[in-house]
């Protein structure tokens, strides 16, 4: 599929179906973007599973850092990649092996080949996006900070179910 843009429906479906998110390249440094995303998504009701071999076994946000995706002992719905674009290639086989349903690459992360591999294994793929920003946008919350929800509607704003 074309990854230059996504419909709101495609992203909403992902954010509504997913319950657990493994974050590869997770940092426990509170000033890093991955830390912002994990805290936000956790508050929205997702279970966050941080992956970082350098931190394996340490406690974080009520969870434990895992060394790799295959070490995670609960079903993982989505793999969120905070790694450089090339590193995503090595994440895909693991994401497929653990039956993840979504491969998400963060803002600035692009890998078309990895996306194709993941898609042919049945995963949905998002690249160069941030789930925090997309959740904030689709729920309308991002407008509190001056961002655009892009919602034009005469219906009550259906905040995404997870709050």
């Amino acid at each position: 599929m074309d990854h230059s843009s996504y419909t709101d429906e495609y992203l909403t479906n992902i954010l509504e179906e997913v319950k657990t998110i493994a974050v590869v390249g997770a940092s426990d440094n509170p000033s890093r973007p991955s830390n912002f995303v994990m805290r936000y998504m956790k508050r929205k009701g997702y279970r966050i599973l941080p992956v970082n071999p350098g931190k394996a076994g340490q406690e974080f946000l009520g969870e434990t850092f895992y060394a790799s995706l295959s070490d995670i002992d609960v079903p993982v719905d989505m793999v969120d990649c905070f790694r450089n674009s090339e590193a995503v290639a090595s994440i895909v086989p693991e994401a497929v092996a653990i039956n993840a349903k979504v491969l998400w690459m963060q803002l600035g992360v692009f890998n078309e080949t990895a996306a194709e591999t993941a898609e042919s294994a049945g995963l949905k793929v998002v690249m160069n996006r941030c789930p925090k920003i997309e959740f904030g946008r689709l729920s309308g919350e991002i407008a509190y900070m001056g961002g655009r929800s892009k919602i034009i509607s005469s219906k009550r704003n259906k905040l995404l179910g997870k709050r």
Partner: protein
């Protein structure tokens, strides 16, 4: 809905019904502060890790509707509403400038902006270099290594001048700096500077956005396109921020970075927050922006035609006139429209100008533009009186200049009032 048009966006953008009450019109959230869910939630909000409301100096849900409305109409990624147009300028520069930095500013600006830049900004050691925008190359020649932005008005106050946005945007981008456009006089109905390469668009929302002369406000729109990390020129956006535990705004917020930094640093610390009541008034005004701008422009063109042929008038500066020097630029940037504001020269100079503003009955003699009412002022004795005569002439506000902001009354009545006042002056 696929691609709603301008008029639809002006009514709806940002303003879905209130999720809790179903209120159809945007409620005025008249509250100073907001409860936290728990201590962690409070910490996440203060750290900018969550999107939400803390305190109305920073965010307010009514203001948020105004912000999304204007960001949408301008085609930007983010907007920040503040207490006035001048506050918008101060906060935009606060995000871009360090002490000792410089920026280029057009000489064709609202007189108050020239004073803000040349007097008050000096106290922050931000140094404006003024450039005649008639030839865009003048900006190229004036650039210095310390320049952090170029500032112009699209349609310039006090009137008649159209600035070549695309040409100046190219010069700014070659120098690795953003172009800031004050789009107050054109409004996004006539011109959307981001489509021509501008990076940041500012408004005095007091004027055509609000449109009824009843509320002071300002707004900063960011295109989200400028790469703040491409150089070391913009440390506020690209470097770790000590007041947010070393977080880097551009890395963390991507295209939202400038808007969030203006809010979370400039507005947080300098403090010029917009009251939600004023935001409500401006939101309501914007719903009729297209109708009003059409009426302003039609009336103004009739007035300019009338003045051109009047015995007491020596010249008219209005880019909507086909033979005006700026009409070809107007065709490019505003579809040929000249907006509501124009200047003309009155025979008899300074003294005749003063008589004229005292002799009107329908026009209001006051310092504002962009009202439903027709307004008149003699800039040399009022808005531009802080400038010396040379600066006044450079700003298009010499001693014989009268500025009009044409309202949406009936054109015949407007013209009749001008005629009688001119004949007495």
């Amino acid at each position: 809905m696929t691609d709603p048009k301008f008029e639809t966006l002006a009514v709806h953008a940002g303003a879905a019904p209130d999720p809790t009450t179903g209120a159809r019109v945007t409620p005025i959230y008249q509250t100073a502060s907001y409860v936290f869910d728990d201590a962690d939630h409070a910490a996440e909000l203060f750290n900018l890790q969550a999107f939400g409301n803390i305190y109305s100096r920073l965010t307010n849900p009514t203001n948020a509707v105004l912000e999304e409305r204007v960001a949408t109409l301008e085609g930007g990624a983010t907007a920040l509403a503040v207490a006035s147009g001048h506050a918008a300028q101060m906060i935009a520069f606060h995000t871009l400038m360090e002490p000792g930095d410089e920026f280029l500013a057009s000489t064709r600006l609202y007189g108050g902006s020239i004073t803000q830049f040349s007097q008050s900004f000096k106290k922050f050691n931000w140094n404006a270099i003024f450039v005649d925008p008639a030839d865009p190359n003048n900006f190229k020649e004036a650039l210095t290594p310390k320049c952090k932005a170029i500032f112009i008005e699209s349609l310039a106050n006090p009137g008649g001048v159209v600035t070549d946005i695309a040409a100046i945007a190219e010069i700014a981008h070659e120098a690795g700096i953003p172009l800031i456009v004050d789009n107050t006089l054109a409004s996004p109905y006539l011109c959307r500077p981001i489509e021509w390469g501008a990076d940041i668009v500012l408004h005095s929302a007091t004027k055509f956005l609000g449109g009824h002369g009843n509320s002071v406000g300002g707004i900063i729109v960011d295109s989200g396109k400028f790469d703040w990390s491409a150089s070391d020129k913009f440390p506020t956006l690209s470097e770790p921020n000590p007041s947010y535990h070393g977080m880097k705004f551009h890395e963390t917020f991507g295209e939202l970075a400038f808007g969030i930094a203006c809010r979370a640093l400039g507005l947080r610390d300098l403090g010029p927050a917009l009251s939600p009541f004023n935001a409500f008034m401006i939101i309501t005004g914007i719903e009729t922006l297209a109708l009003r701008m059409k009426a302003h422009c039609e009336n103004a063109l009739k007035v300019a035609d009338f003045l051109q042929n009047h015995e007491k008038v020596s010249w008219v500066s209005y880019a909507g006139l086909k033979d005006d020097a700026y009409h070809s630029l107007a065709q490019k940037y505003t579809g040929g429209a000249g907006g509501a504001v124009m200047t003309f020269g009155i025979k008899g100079g300074y003294d005749a100008g003063i008589k004229m503003v005292e002799n009107v009955n329908l026009f209001s003699h006051l310092a504002n533009i962009g009202d439903t009412r027709s307004l008149i002022i003699h800039p040399a004795s009022t808005t531009h009186r802080q400038l010396n005569e040379e600066q006044q002439i450079a700003a298009g506000a010499g001693p014989d200049v009268i500025r009009l902001s044409i309202g949406i009354e009936n054109a015949d009545d407007i013209i009749a009032d001008l005629d009688q006042a001119l004949m007495q002056s």
